[in-house]
């Protein structure tokens, strides 16, 4: 217990230090939210493998490390060339960049966005007259029960706020990029709020990348509100260094007739966890949550998702696919609740895993809880290797078995990558995936 207490005290001290730096800077509502979260954090403990939700993911190695939180912007670790590799041209004029948790105005550019679309640093709202985020920020992310969320909320400083105005369809993808680029072990608390107003339509790419191989910790929280009739495509891309730690939480609220599609890709980090919860607040909602994780070496990736079907006539589909090599480990826990009265719910869930080595392991738990009648639900999970029949099929067309394996592995991931609507992101991921699989395969 002494160890746990020490770890918590380190983070509490960080909260106090942070509060000092923000003294007098923020609007009272934000200060109050932080204080409430700090209080929650005091009453909570970091999860252990004794907690059901963290049974297979041990965060002890993360908590043992000492990370420093930076308060000043330092761009010395951001080389133009590396930056280019984690940005994409479609969002050149519609992106926000954060470095080590701090907003980097120099690297951000939102000039390409139509008037009325707000894509800005949270601090701007926190101290200015526009109090738009007040009602939404913290309304979904549960700082009262979730330790990491409490910590993130207690430390809200810079962050990304996206607001798509009523009835508008935004063509440019909006890119929110959170970089770590430090020569020491740092911790950052990325925070994102996305509000798609009634009948609007937009695409947001939220990405996390490391520009240095240093062991950093991102504790990220994203809140998404999809208002009636709105449609949001949300790509979440975690490609941090393999020494990084990443704990991410995404909470989504959907209103009447809205559509939310998420694709969460996890490639980096030594230990990464993404929790995605989607809550239905009305009828005729469509939810698509897909995921892809590729882990090698001794990486550990954990995806916990839940979709709460609380109203009739809603659809959800979920496909999470994983490729594991080396001694990597993956955890998938997907819950689908169909509450009483959620008639005619159509919910499909599938988790598929491809093991490239005999030492990689997967713990998968698709869960379906149905309390309503007249629903269509399916769920399942597979863990397997490349099929000999598939390899033979390709070989019978003249493709060597080595290339056949690479092509099949690539294809396994490609099924999800090809669903990405942004060309450069899609192509960039193709390359990243191939590199990651240590295979050079010629594809268009």
């Amino acid at each position: 217990m002494a160890q746990a207490a020490r770890e918590k005290e380190n983070y509490s001290a960080a909260c106090r230090a942070f509060t000092k730096t923000r003294a007098g800077l923020d609007q009272p509502w934000l200060t109050a939210l932080r204080e409430r979260a700090a209080e929650s954090f005091q009453g909570l403990s970091f999860p252990t493998t004794r907690d059901e939700e963290w049974k297979y993911t041990n965060v002890a190695p993360l908590l043992e490390k000492q990370f420093r939180q930076l308060f000043d912007l330092d761009l010395s670790g951001v080389q133009a060339k590396r930056l280019e590799s984690v940005t994409f041209p479609e969002a050149r004029e519609s992106r926000l960049v954060f470095v080590n948790g701090i907003y980097a105005a120099e690297l951000s550019n939102t000039s390409g966005l139509p008037d009325g679309v707000q894509v800005a640093n949270l601090s701007q709202f926190a101290s200015g007259s526009d109090q738009f985020p007040e009602a939404a920020l913290g309304s979904l992310a549960d700082h009262e029960n979730d330790t990491f969320t409490a910590l993130n909320t207690a430390l809200i400083g810079d962050g990304a706020v996206v607001r798509i105005p009523r009835g508008r369809a935004i063509e440019q993808p909006i890119h929110l990029l959170f970089l770590t680029a430090a020569t020491e072990q740092i911790v950052a608390y990325p925070r994102v709020l996305i509000v798609a107003e009634e009948g609007s339509m937009a695409t947001v790419v939220e990405s996390y990348a490391s520009l240095q191989n240093e062991s950093c910790f991102n504790n990220a929280v994203t809140e998404v509100i999809v208002n009636p009739g709105a449609s949001l495509d949300h790509y979440r891309l975690q490609q941090e260094s393999e020494r990084a730690f990443h704990i991410g939480t995404t909470r989504v609220r959907q209103e009447q007739g809205s559509r939310y599609r998420s694709l969460a890709i996890s490639l980096g980090a030594e230990i990464s966890r993404h929790t995605l919860n989607v809550e239905h607040r009305a009828e005729q909602i469509e939810t698509i949550i897909d995921g892809l994780y590729i882990v090698t070496g001794s990486q550990h990736v954990d995806n916990h998702t839940s979709i709460d079907h609380a109203h009739p006539h809603c659809q959800s589909s979920q496909l999470y696919k994983g490729i594991l090599d080396g001694r990597a480990r993956a955890v998938f826990n997907g819950k689908v609740f169909v509450r009483e009265g959620a008639l005619l719910t159509d919910a499909r869930q599938l988790n598929k895993n491809l093991l490239l080595s005999g030492t990689a392991t997967v713990d998968t738990k698709p869960q379906l809880e149905i309390l309503a009648d007249d629903v269509k639900c399916s769920h399942g999970a597979t863990v397997g290797q490349l099929e000999e029949e598939e390899i033979f099929y390709l070989a019978s067309r003249g493709i060597s078995s080595e290339r056949a394996r690479a092509l099949l592995t690539f294809g396994f991931a490609g099924e999800l990558i090809e669903r990405i609507g942004i060309r450069s992101v899609r192509e960039g991921l193709d390359r990243t995936v191939l590199d990651k699989l240590h295979q050079s395969l010629e594809v268009e």
Binding site: E387, E388, E389, E390, F392, Y393, L394, A395, S396, R397, G398, I399, S400, S401, R403, A404, L407, L408, F410, G411, F412, A413, G414, E415, L416, I417, E418, E442, V443, E444
Partner: protein, 251 residues
């Protein structure tokens, strides 16, 4: 082109082919018929080099060389093609990428020029006409979500792209309706030439209404027990296989 002598093959220790002899020359179309379990598909898979089958005796000479020494991909590059009875779905890999890769592997082997995506696209469009396939299939994942008929067409499209010397069509007619059968058979007829040879493995006579074989062989208990011209297929259609069984079992 192909000479099979006293071929024995097993799967999971069970002997399926028990001394099969067959000689095929360029320009010929051979039909292999026979009751279920006689070894027809085993022969097709052994020729393509399926790893689950073990050749325990005999030899197979292809263009004068020992075919059995070659790995499946080497066989394909040297011109052996197997149209699968149950084509495999490959999600995430587009038909175009897959076909171009296969084409270029063979081109490289033959010292021909490899094609870039644009050049290959032109070639593919031409070949797709042979099997009356819609252009939309180019960018779809290989066989994924294809109907039974579409999968078989895709097999013949691959044959058209790879232009094999020896094509083995394993029950290509199974699961096809009459329109799809006609399209697939027409495709095969367009691809047949004096330079190549085709083996049709089939259970039914109906395919042979569309593709005229030069020879018909009856495979039973792992051996060719009767050979003849196309009239043999008609005879099998009317009389069934019992008279063959009786004759073989009496011998």
């Amino acid at each position: 082109m192909l000479e099979i002598r006293n071929l024995h093959a097993t799967i999971d220790g069970k002997e399926i082919l028990k001394g099969l002899d067959l000689t095929i020359r360029a320009g010929e179309v051979h039909a292999i018929m026979g009751p279920n379990g006689s070894g027809k598909s085993t022969l097709a898979k052994v020729l393509a080099g399926h790893p689950s089958y073990e050749v325990t005796g005999g030899e197979v000479l292809y263009q004068g060389e020992n075919l059995l020494e070659l790995a499946p991909d080497e066989r394909a590059r040297s011109g052996v093609f197997l149209a699968f009875q149950y084509p495999i779905e490959i999600p995430g890999v587009s038909n175009a990428n897959f076909l171009r890769m296969a084409y270029n592997e063979k081109a490289k082997h033959e010292g021909q020029e490899e094609l870039d995506p644009l050049e290959f696209d032109d070639l593919l469009k031409e070949k797709m006409k042979i099997v009356e396939m819609d252009q939309s299939f180019i960018n779809r994942a290989v066989n994924e979500g294809f109907s039974g008929g579409e999968k078989k067409r895709n097999e013949i499209l691959q044959m058209a792209v790879l232009n094999p010397h020896l094509a083995v069509l394993d029950e290509t007619d199974s699961g096809l309706d009459i329109d799809a059968l006609r399209v697939v058979a027409n495709g095969v007829n367009k691809l047949a030439s004096k330079e190549n040879a085709i083996i049709l493995v089939t259970h039914y006579q109906r395919l042979l209404d569309y593709i005229q074989p030069d020879f018909v062989h009856v495979l039973y208990k792992g051996r060719i027990v009767k050979s003849g011209g196309k009239e043999l297929a008609l005879e099998l259609e009317t009389r069934g296989y019992d008279w063959i069984r009786t004759a073989v079992n009496a011998a």
